[in-house]
Symmetry: C2
Subunit: 234 residues, 2 copies
DNA sequence: TAGTGGTCTAGACCACAAA
DNA sequence: TTGTGGTCTAGACCACTAG
């Protein structure tokens, strides 16, 4: 394993084991030594080795089974974290001055596709909020939100006129589960106008339906200006 | 906290603490009891409470600091895992019969934007592979891969003619780091032909540059058929 | 049924950051 | 300075499952 120093704290052990895997010395499907054997090698207790291996297992590098031992994961399906940020914060951290403009807000009857996605009766009353997010004065995103009134009690005009709705929601209507879809669309005329871009430009649409303990909170459509990208990494 | 039974294993404690947060009893910014106090309440040792709280911290619900105590996260930025699957597996698990057709493969001189992304000299020789992925005979994705020869030694025609390149790469050229970008594009004419869709249709393009210990492996452009979506959730 | 990982304890010392 | 979480130990018992 490592030539000179034998690590004995769990982070170092994790690093060392990971190197065996990434260097190809321990290949996918290989069974690696038992906890007790590794503990003896590293000169520490089984708990410490266990901590390191457990961490690698939750990261997807190892598969562990009682009695079956620890095996290098056959299919290292790496997950790239795609975050769902607060819009103003995202713009700010990109080094731009965030702006916010409310386009519309008020109760409406839910259109069929919204009602279906939220599990409501068609025509049920929902709160519809549309707003524009700017970066250095340039329109970057348009949010189109449909909220279930019962789940956002206390949200009113004094909130959405002064600050973005998502910041109120984050504090007062936390979600426990969400479904996210990313698709490419041709920019509709009305949105293209807000973005000051040619209509039909290809742009990203992120749709998110959120629940709190199996009760639907709302549906968000986040339209991105043409040319905007989502970035992530492993 | 929980009304009747007082949990004493770490998963139950995590569940119990999470409920305090999600029910709004412990609000963002609130300091929660110290480990020792929780241990006394739950009737277990500090280690067990620590395990539960550590788990909630890595999940983003708590923020912990030595001497500062444990605080409910002010900004519960939830991460949605976006997986980078093996293409044939993804199609198969969607209930369709996967197909694969090689479009082109061989050495080429790297175009400027590819060379730049990979950190190579412009005109350096790279391996260029283009292939079509089908679901039930219908084209779903086109992969456009540029590989650094030194990093994929052993990859040859006998591999890419019989099976998708990504399956060889996964086993033989594991990545340690990757940068992923998702954007919307208008389908170029040549790709639209393969997809049998109108050109200029808005569609998703996923670009991934991968490294192994700071050495570039390759660049992948994955073009999606118009209408295809990426799905994930929390 | 036996062997492996999963969990918990009771204690100790340490590292860091707030007061 | 001092209180908090972070880590480690040495041991024990348990839960799951492969053989």
């Amino acid at each position: 394993m490592s030539k000179d120093t034998i690590p004995s704290d769990w982070k170092a052990i994790r690093r060392d084991v990971l190197e065996q895997i990434q260097s190809g010395k321990w290949k996918p499907g290989d069974k690696i030594p038992r906890e007790i054997e590794l503990a003896a090698y590293y000169g520490c207790t089984r708990s410490t080795v266990g901590r390191a291996l457990r961490d690698l297992a939750t990261a997807g590098f190892l598969e562990r089974r009682r009695k079956g031992g620890t095996v290098v994961a056959a299919n290292p399906t790496r997950k790239a974290p795609l975050d769902v940020p607060i819009l103003r914060d995202a713009i700010r951290s990109a080094g731009a001055e965030p702006g916010y403009r409310l386009l519309r807000a008020g109760p409406e009857r839910a259109p069929p596709e919204i009602a279906t996605a939220l599990g409501l009766a068609v025509g049920a009353e929902v709160l519809h909020v549309q707003a524009l997010y700017l970066a250095d004065g340039v329109a970057h995103q348009i949010e189109d939100r449909w909220l279930v009134p019962a789940m956002v009690r206390g949200l009113g005009p004094d909130h959405w006129s002064t600050q973005p709705v998502d910041e109120w929601l984050l504090r007062n209507a936390p979600l426990t589960r969400a479904k996210i879809e990313i698709e490419a669309i041709a920019l509709p005329a009305e949105l293209a106008g807000h973005f000051d871009q040619p209509e039909q430009s290809p742009s990203l649409l992120v749709t998110r339906v959120s629940w709190r303990q199996s009760k639907p909170i709302g549906l968000l459509r986040l339209y991105h200006a043409a040319g905007q990208r989502l970035k992530t990494g492993i």
